[in-house]
Symmetry: C2
């Protein structure tokens, strides 16, 4: 039986990159949890001595520090650098981009609107790069309370839905001479879904890996089952059953956004051991 | 009785300006009809000897020429200047603006999308200012047939509806890194309606001037009647009746977009003669 992994699965590009950066800097601290997966944070501590600092005050002088995928506010970055330790930037490039856009557009005199949650670390970081007026809004109602200049630049939190972003833009266009829209939405979740669908169409059996409570993994399982009735949602290799694979030609594998690579590899190893 | 004219009525700013420019240049030719109103074009010929040239070949060497509100293509402007006569630009500033935007955005490397009719003189003119890829589309279906770069700048024909413009933008945003939207729509028609509504709320009697077949005048009349039951839609002073004004304190006046100022003035003069 052939085993094929979906073209896009599990951790997004930015998270994979951040973990690799952390592994390459043993003994460093991360400022805030590197990703939202405790098993993975424990593994980084155990295998690479990468520890967790919950805030800036926990970082000692000279301590090498990894900035997590969400990024941090500009001023925090300055303070961190002043501590004298190496600063290793694992900010997702899809987050660095809106930071750069906000900085540039602000300098060019645009008022900045960010479609996102002002309390989310990503948005706190992005907002901090504005040198002029900047507003984070979650919907048109919030937007209506704000007075903006004629020229407005707009960015979105990377995880927002494009349809909701368009509503923000639809409100801005009639009220402003120029609305400069930057599409900063990252389609990682949708890419995993598209890739799972494509693979499930061809596979005899699909293994969908991720927490039983993980909503994006359940969503992947639903999609796979639609195209491949023999689709199984599992958390660990212990749930695998040899009979699932008997008489099958192609086993497809995908994983939810919070599933580390090593769990996926363990499961694929176990499937191979069945020698079907 | 007091007579008050709506804050915005009749010819838009650009048309009024073009007529004034033509009147200031007796003996000149206009390249194409200055506005879509034959009575007015006849008046300009009779009173100011402003004649009509239907195309570039009709313009003699050294002939002073007025460019009409729609503007003309860049290359036609060049040819016109080569004829050696004075070139008087009556292009509406709301049309000059998208011409300038298209030229600048094109130079900055953006692909240009124009929401408008490629066969309309205004859009022919605006398109001609692009130095790179430029496309005029009337709907999303047309847009889907076009392959565009990552950075797109968008302008709209001045007379388009903003809701339709937003549909174009909503399609572009998910497909491009940057969509630079310029709101080049002119709200003259809507401004006339808003001003008529505001005046009708306060007036005892409303006079709405314009062709009986003119859809925008009929629309104005409908709006006025809603707020002022004694609203009359007339074409000329001969239709006025003294009894309409007896016992009234405030007479409001508005006019459709194709109604020249002098017809409005004739009518106001006649109302004043009633001495009510």
């Amino acid at each position: 039986m052939e085993i094929e992994i979906a073209q896009s699965y599990g951790f997004c590009f930015g998270v994979k990159r951040a973990i690799k950066i952390a592994e390459e800097h043993p003994g460093s601290s991360t400022l805030g949890p590197l990703i939202h997966n405790n098993m993975e944070i424990e593994r980084l501590k155990r295998d690479f001595n990468v520890s967790l600092a919950t805030n800036l005050d926990d970082i000692g002088a000279g301590q090498a520090t990894v900035i997590r995928t969400h990024g941090i506010p500009k001023n925090d970055l300055k303070k961190l650098k002043e501590k004298g330790g190496e600063v290793i930037d694992a900010t997702c490039p899809f987050v660095t981009k809106p930071q750069q856009i906000v900085e540039k557009m602000s300098e060019e005199g645009y008022d900045i609107v960010i479609f996102g949650d002002a309390n989310h670390p990503e948005i706190k970081g992005v907002m901090s790069y504005a040198t002029g007026p900047v507003y984070a809004v979650l919907n048109v109602e919030e937007l209506k309370t704000i007075s903006l200049k004629e020229r407005v630049a707009v960015v979105a939190q990377t995880t927002r839905k494009i349809e909701e972003y368009n509503k923000i833009i639809n409100y801005l266009v009639p009220h402003h001479k120029e609305v400069r829209v930057f599409n900063t939405i990252c389609n990682a979740t949708f890419e995993n879904q598209d890739a799972a669908r494509e693979l499930a169409r061809r596979a005899d059996v699909m293994i969908v890996i991720g927490g039983k409570q993980s909503s994006n993994t359940k969503q992947l399982h639903t999609i796979c089952r639609e195209y491949c009735p023999d689709s199984y949602h599992i958390e660990s290799k212990d749930e695998l059953k040899k009979e699932w694979f008997e008489g099958k030609k192609l086993c497809g594998v995908t994983a939810g956004a919070s599933t580390p690579e090593w769990i996926i590899e363990e499961i694929i190893g176990k499937i191979r051991e069945f020698k079907v």
